[in-house]
């Protein structure tokens, strides 16, 4: 820091050079603008996985206990997903909801997506199943 060389009772020019200060502040500002990330609030869709037994996974329900309905998600040419409700082709989530609403509430819905299907489409189907107020929705899991 430069100190007054001669303080001979004369007027002292007290000035702070603002330019480097502004430079630093702008630098910090740019750094924070670049690194800032706004966090979107997250929500959850609940599900239960099958319990594991000694021999492998337990069947969710026996066939004679509950009606089982398969919802298959298959990738077609061009990467577009196609939904199959049993053998019926479903074109939209709304159509799927329409059919699901006609089914009893305790029906077991098994979602079987093909491995190449994007996760967002699986969640889309699961969300539709939840919308239809079905309580038994499971994801097919391999026994390997």
């Amino acid at each position: 820091m430069k100190l007054p060389i001669k303080a001979t009772g004369s007027r002292i020019n007290l000035s702070i050079r603002m330019t480097p200060l502004i430079d630093v502040i702008f630098l910090l500002l740019i750094f924070f603008i670049i690194t800032i990330q706004f966090v979107k609030p997250e929500s959850v869709l609940e599900n239960r996985l099958p319990e594991r037994r000694a021999q492998g996974f337990k069947d969710q329900q026996n066939d004679w206990e509950m009606v089982r309905l398969r919802i298959k998600l298959i990738i077609k040419e061009g990467g577009r997903p196609k939904i199959y409700l049993q053998e019926r082709v479903v074109k939209t989530y709304e159509e799927l909801l329409y059919y699901l609403n006609q089914l009893p509430r305790n029906i077991l819905l098994v979602i079987e997506p093909e491995s190449r299907v994007l996760y967002k489409h699986v969640i889309g189907v699961y969300n539709t199943c939840k919308k239809s107020k079905k309580s038994n929705i499971v994801f097919a899991i391999s026994r390997e």
Partner: protein
Amino acid sequence: MRAYRKREWASLMINMTPLIDVVFLIIVFFIIMINFSEVLIRKITLPKADEAKEIKEHVIKKITITIKSEKFIFVDRKKVSLYSLEETLRQKVCDPRKTTALLRGDENSPYDAIQKVMEKVAFAGITRIEFSTYKEAVPPLERDINDEASDQSNR
């Protein structure tokens, strides 16, 4: 005639150079210390689901699994491989029946990766899972060109 004495103006100024040095030092420190796994975890785009519920904060034991792809799996903030996921979960979870696994999967990742993680979670004995989503309307399915053509012919 009045004689004026020559006044000397002293320059009292703050030298900014060491300040800038310190600021740069702090910036370099933060750049080095930044946790890139945290950045990767936050870069996930979650799928949208309007039926999703708010996250229950009172759930005592919750384990967060972030899945970008098969190669980018994080348990809480630690990167793990799919191979070691089951073992990591077993070590982290004391009581699997009372634990909830929160799956944060990227919306554009193939279901294959999510399914494998779900299998590992089930193998670790955890039965309660939650899919993390944004509470927004689900975008419609991309329609097949053949479907659109058949719809037009029906009209």
